[in-house]
């Protein structure tokens, strides 16, 4: 294997195209030329194909195991021997012995052959699960440990969950996302089965379900009762006695047993015991968020994405540990100075506002933020509370490769900048490319808003992307021609470089710079963590 560096870009393009079957015939000679006298390039070429093969095998093996688990556990067919071994025998004796051998590694091949090549068996065999047979996915987990049956693969973050597939969580937390958007947070030890597109069965342990608007009517059943969502967030617990206990955090639910039905509202709890529904004592505690997402963990959430720089106020204002506190420093610029270029010192943010880095180390002003990052890929995120007054267009972050650029749509060459306008629009500019959210996107002033901007430059034409997020939601994304590759030599917050008056007036907090384009999920998580309910993360039900 070889070290891959930026100078290999053209070679990489050729290798990737060859591997993906997209290399035009006339470029084969070009690839050969690149490989011919370069052993390192030859290694890269061979390794790339090998990795591609490994990745195929990895995912298709996982899927084949799921299929087998599904068939075995749901007992959809006569004893497994009948069709599987016939497939084995058929392949062994008639078709392709080679596929059988490889099939030990990649069972999906065997399954495919069983279904595709043997119609006489297809009629009596279960169909290979389609998308409709899956209802949910393991969305996230923390410290999860599983009770596994012999040969069962450990559920992973990437796994789709088949309807009927039991989960036996020994300890830790697992969050399941149904395709309709409902989130179920399982707290181990727990035994849970996705039983349908909008339902699940809890045999033991605790869960908290946050039901999406589209999924109202979500049902959790136990051996003794059923709880039906009526637009809500609720917790359910099944203990050793098999009693079902339910607590409502938001909205309402209907709790039913064979002999009784009762609706519960916010703050209420009840327990199904026997055929009766009795009032709960509110003593059961439910985890409504993963512990790492608990309020107080905002900075941990940001740090998990490995920022290049992260500026917060922990040593200036009481930030209450790692928690996001909407405070920030007011950074209105009151005395515009015409010569605000780097050589004269930047005063877009008043210099007396000293900012501490996340580690509590040396503070820095917003005039000398982290440099050395580049235009290839990155993310900027921060919280802003705009004043009611100020210039109609206000610059937020501004960064330049050499300090000579002027922030503007057509001339911001070598610059990266973010801005917002009083009309509720906001946007991002990079090397002359600009993307704007429409007017009215941002709400009223004096409210805290989370902004995030991502960029990913690709060498291929029209494949580079820029995206705008507001409060965790993707507002706009464009795909465009690649911009110039450059490195940032100066960064600051509050005012662009030229001597005009587009100065930010408001407060700023939790400014983070990343060297890669964060995923939408990562950005959503920042906001979710900040907005998580302010009480302690472990909620207790109450009557």
């Amino acid at each position: 294997m070889v070290v891959v560096d930026s100078s290999s870009q053209n070679l990489l393009d050729l290798v990737a195209a060859a591997c993906d079957g997209r290399l035009a015939a006339e470029r084969v000679a070009e690839l050969e030329q690149a490989l011919l006298a370069d052993p390192a390039a030859q290694d890269l070429y061979l390794d790339y194909f090998r990795l591609d093969t490994q990745l195929s095998a990895l995912w298709q093996e996982q899927r084949s195991r799921e299929v087998l688990d599904r068939i075995e556990k749901l007992q959809l067919v006569e004893p497994a021997y009948s069709w599987f071994d016939r497939a084995y025998d058929f392949i062994s004796h008639t078709m392709a012995l080679s596929l059988l051998i490889a099939g030990l590694f990649c069972t999906i091949v065997v399954l495919s052959l069983a279904v595709i090549s043997m119609p006489e068996l297809t009629n009596r065999s279960p169909k290979v699960p389609s998308r409709d047979d899956y209802a949910a996915r393991i969305y996230d987990s923390q410290d999860a440990a599983w009770n596994l049956t012999q040969g069962q693969a450990e559920p992973q973050w990437k796994d789709d969950l088949l309807i009927g597939q039991p989960l036996d969580l020994a300890s830790g937390f697992v969050r399941i996302r149904y395709d309709n958007g409902t989130m179920v947070l399982l707290e181990g030890p727990a035994r849970f089965t996705v039983t349908g597109q909008n339902s699940g069965q809890l045999l033991r342990g605790k869960l908290v379900a946050r039901v999406s608007k589209e999924a109202t009517g979500f049902i959790v059943s136990s051996l003794t009762g059923t709880v039906t969502d009526l637009g809500t967030e609720f917790g359910a617990y099944v203990g050793p006695s098999d009693d079902l206990e339910v607590a409502v955090f938001d909205g309402k639910v209907r709790l039913e047993t064979s002999g009784e039905s009762r609706e519960l509202g916010v703050g209420q709890s009840a327990r199904v015991t026997g055929n009766s529904v009795v009032q709960g004592d509110g003593s059961t505690r439910f985890a409504r968020v993963l512990p790492r997402e608990a309020p107080g963990a905002y900075s941990l959430c940001v740090l998990a994405d490995k920022p290049l720089a992260y500026y917060r106020l922990s040593s200036i204002v009481d930030e209450k540990g790692d928690r996001f506190t909407a405070n920030g420093v007011r950074v209105a610029f009151t005395t515009p100075q015409p010569g605000l270029n780097r050589s004269n010192g930047f005063a877009g943010v008043e210099d007396f506002n000293r900012w501490a880095n996340f580690d509590g180390g040396e503070s820095s002003t917003l005039t000398e933020l982290k440099t050395g990052w580049n235009s290839n890929a990155g993310t900027i995120s921060y919280w802003v509370r705009a004043d009611e007054d100020g210039h109609p267009t206000q610059t937020h972050l501004f960064a330049s490769d050499d300090g000579d650029g002027v922030f503007g749509k057509s001339v911001s060459i070598g610059c990266i900048g973010t801005f917002a306008r009083k009309d509720g629009s906001f946007g991002f500019s990079i090397d002359g490319f600009q993307i704007d959210a429409p007017a009215g996107t941002i709400g009223a002033p004096l409210a805290w808003n989370h902004f995030a901007f991502t960029w990913q430059r690709e060498a291929e034409p029209a494949n580079s992307t820029i995206a705008l997020y507001l409060n965790g939601e993707l507002i706009k994304s464009v795909t465009t021609e690649p911009w110039t590759e450059f490195t940032i030599a100066a960064t600051r917050f509050g005012k662009e470089q030229s001597g005009n008056s587009r100065i930010f007036s408001g407060s700023l907090d939790e400014l983070a710079l990343f060297a890669e384009a964060l995923s939408a999920e990562a950005i959503q998580q920042q906001v979710a963590v900040a907005k998580a309910a302010s009480p302690a993360p472990i909620e207790s039900s109450s009557e």
Partner: protein, 187 residues
């Protein structure tokens, strides 16, 4: 007294052992064939012929030898047979280039420890890439959707998805190299 296994049982053990060896070398051999035979369908044919040849000649395999080198050697023969017998209508490397790549591949000595470390490295490195990149890999490699379909559902162009795949593969290669260097002193 230990039970004496029958000839049939012994043959079964050998078969399972052989299959396990092949499983461990699967990506190396198939990856090599695909790198040499650029057409994906033809590469699958050549790989199947290779596996069949391996299976048929397993009794001649010297267990003191490294299985992977033996398998790559047979694959090499099958690849050159393929190029001799086909009319070469499709784009392909020159004979000189094929020889160089085959020689390069043959020079690699990889014991079982290394192969297992490589599998571990891949799984470990997959945990280090962004969730959105893992999701993209899953969708593209799981086999249920074409890249074009994935691109359509993401409101992207296929070229853009291919480009993202390239990025994440390179990341994985680099990550695996570092891990294997740390574990085995080589990438």
């Amino acid at each position: 007294m230990a039970k004496r296994i029958s000839d049939i049982e012994f043959a079964e053990l050998l078969r399972l052992h052989f299959a396990e060896l092949l499983r461990l070398h699967y990506a190396r051999v198939l990856g090599f064939v695909r790198a040499m035979v650029l057409d994906a369908n033809d590469a699958q044919d050549v790989f199947q012929e290779t596996v069949l040849a391996l299976w048929q000649s397993q009794e001649s395999f010297d267990s003191e030898r490294e299985f992977g080198a033996w398998a790559v050697g047979i694959a090499r023969h099958k690849i050159f047979d393929y190029f001799k017998s086909r009319r070469r209508e499709q784009a392909h490397f020159s004979d000189a280039m094929l020889e160089i790549l085959a020689e390069r591949q043959s020079q690699r000595s990889e014991d079982l420890d290394y192969l297992q470390a490589r599998e571990r490295a891949l799984k470990s490195c997959l945990e280090t890439v962004q969730a959105s990149q893992r999701e993209l890999l899953r969708r593209c490699y799981e086999g249920n959707e074409s890249v074009a379909e994935v691109a359509l559902s993401m409101n992207r162009t296929p070229g853009s998805v291919y480009s993202s795949l390239k990025h994440v593969r390179v990341k994985l290669l680099e990550c695996m190299r570092k891990r294997l260097e740390g574990e085995h002193g080589r990438g």
